[in-house]
């Protein structure tokens, strides 16, 4: 065998390239991403096409109305986040990954960076496209709006940021639980269902706390007009970022201590 010559050492950019390459060389990524995009665009068309001025939805924020589909799209992206981390343990790829990068932590960082950036950029492009498409139908209604209207672009971007942070939360859950079904259950139960259940409790303090829960905070970010009684967009972004950071900090600590 010939001796190879290359400036070989593990670098952060190398680990990033590796995770980027891994992300786009499996079908599940394309399936989940394209499903999310199709759901957001499809629901936007549906909402725009069926809307009538003065109807039941006329008091709903125009961006919220247009992006109803991102709740479903968000689940697709959460699945992707879980597959990116927990999926490596079910296939056994984690052994090869952590043999190549035994420091381990750069792998988690690169996965989070690659997924977060992907969802943020794709989310923003999809949201703008969804908004413009919906406006073709909403043009002659009381929900006619343009990208330059107050708060619209910020809400479209805020929604994308919310999707990115929620998918990072899912990625963190996958890395901590190391099981695709386990992490999926934790995400659906803990992030999507639990706030609804807790919200039934008749305490004001609970209601206030709930507004800072991940899905609620993401909802605030995706609204062009301020919602009554909701925290500011800045507070919601901070809350959601802290949730995602906490969800990534747990596996970061465990990664150093646990056996692969």
């Amino acid at each position: 065998m010939t001796t190879a010559t290359f400036p070989h050492r593990v670098t952060p950019s190398g680990v990033l390239r590796s995770e980027w390459h891994k992300l786009w060389t499996v079908r599940s990524t394309w399936i989940t991403v394209l499903s999310a995009v199709a759901l957001v665009l499809g629901v936007a068309v549906l909402m725009g096409g069926t809307y009538t001025s003065g109807g039941g939805d006329s008091d709903v924020d125009v961006v919220v109305l247009t992006l109803y589909g991102s709740q479903l799209g968000g689940i697709c992206l959460a699945v992707l986040g879980i597959l990116v981390t927990a999926g490596e343990y079910s296939s056994g790829l984690a052994r090869a990954t952590f043999t190549a990068v035994p420091a381990r932590l750069p792998v988690l960082g690169a996965k989070a960076a690659v997924l977060g950036a992907t969802v943020l950029v794709l989310g923003l492009l999809t949201n703008v496209a969804a908004f413009l498409t919906a406006q073709v139908f909403l043009d002659d209604t009381d929900h006619a709006a343009s990208l330059t209207d107050d708060g619209v672009l910020a809400a479209l971007a805020g929604n994308a940021a919310g999707l990115a942070l929620l998918s990072l939360l899912a990625l963190g859950l996958g890395a901590a639980l190391r099981s695709v079904p386990g992490a999926l259950g934790a995400f659906i139960g803990g992030v999507l269902v639990l706030p609804e259940v807790v919200g039934m409790l008749p305490y004001d303090a609970v209601d206030t706390a709930l507004r800072y829960f991940p899905t609620q905070a993401a909802g605030v970010l995706g609204s062009a007009s301020p919602l009554p009684g909701a925290p500011s967009a800045g507070a919601a972004l901070l809350a959601l970022a802290l949730w995602a950071a906490a969800a990534l900090a747990v596996p970061a600590v465990l990664l150093r201590r646990r056996d692969v």
Binding site: F6, H8, G14, S18, H21, R27
Partner: protein, 301 residues
């Protein structure tokens, strides 16, 4: 050079590897041998930094595997179970690993060629046979042109042609001056490829030796003596020799070699019909060595 020093691994109350020390030197193929469940895979995972030892250290080229700036150039590893995503192609799997170290595409293509996977590089791994999966694992191990290779049961699932290919590969890697550590639970396989042997059972070191020494030290060498005067010959043997009757006219003598037995017989005019030195087979030596440490023993049928 791979060195394990007093390696110990405990899972809860179960000790899988206990106080294990050995050194694997460059330029030779070292067999890592033990019955199933002896702790081979756990030891290899500790060498690669995947499992943390409860006590002790494992070093590669003088430092821990994880502390090397380019670990894939230090040790290439094939682990026991599959370590790839079934939906990714062989080429993309290797490319993703190569990116971490800045290893170029040409090297990926080179190892695909060496392992005979060039034609299936674009196929998803899902459709690979066990043997092709092993070849992909070996390709990944060679990716960084490593100074040492660690292969856990590399011939599992390979056809005879593949087994021979692995043997040749191991020998040539060692001839290039690399450190080669190969685990197996099959002594016969190791006898054909390994120069040195590290034998463990129930997580303990049983022998760190060469193939020839193992057979000799197993102490199972014996001499089969056929004589009509078996009972008389028995009384003539020195006390440190042990003779057991295999048949009325056949003795199995241990602790004395054939020429010595012949001389005693000649001196006392004992008629001999046969005097056959029998060395224990490597398989037998291994069985003797590990007999007490086999995890699950089948009773004789």
């Amino acid at each position: 050079m791979i060195r394990a020093e007093r390696l110990t691994k405990r899972y809860g109350g179960r000790t899988v590897v206990r106080d294990l020390s050995f050194t694997v030197r460059p330029g030779t193929v070292t067999g890592f041998l033990g019955p199933n469940g002896a702790g081979k895979s756990t030891t290899l995972r500790m060498i690669l930094g995947l499992d943390a030892p409860t006590h002790g250290t494992a070093t590669v080229g003088g430092r821990s595997y994880a502390s090397h700036p380019a670990p894939l150039t230090q040790v290439g590893a094939l682990l026991d179970a599959r370590s790839f995503h079934p939906g990714r192609t062989a080429f993309h799997h290797l490319t993703a690993l190569a990116h971490t170290h800045g290893i170029p595409r040409s090297r990926v293509e080179h190892v695909l060629g060496v392992t005979g996977l060039a034609d299936v590089a674009g196929r998803r791994v899902k459709g690979f046979s066990l043997g092709m999966g092993q070849r992909l694992g070996i390709a990944a191990a060679l990716l960084g042109d490593p100074a040492a290779v660690v292969l856990d049961e590399p011939v599992n699932g390979l056809d005879p042609e593949g087994v021979r290919w692995v043997r040749t590969l191991l020998t040539s890697l060692a001839a290039e001056g690399r450190t080669v550590l190969v685990s197996s639970h099959l002594m016969s396989e190791m006898a054909l490829t390994a120069d040195r042997l590290v034998v463990i059972g129930r997580g303990r070191l049983l022998a760190d030796t060469t193939v020839t020494d193992l057979v000799r030290d197993a102490g199972a060498a014996s001499v089969l003596v056929v004589t009509p005067d078996a009972d008389r010959l028995r009384t003539l043997l020195p006390p440190d020799a042990r003779a057991t009757a295999e048949a009325p006219d056949t003795l199995r003598v241990t602790g004395l070699d054939a020429p010595a037995i012949g001389r005693i017989a000649a001196a006392h005019t004992v008629e001999l019909h046969a005097l056959t030195p029998e060395t224990a087979s490597l398989e037998q030596a291994f069985m003797d060595l590990t007999h007490d440490s086999v995890e699950y023993q089948g009773a004789a049928a």
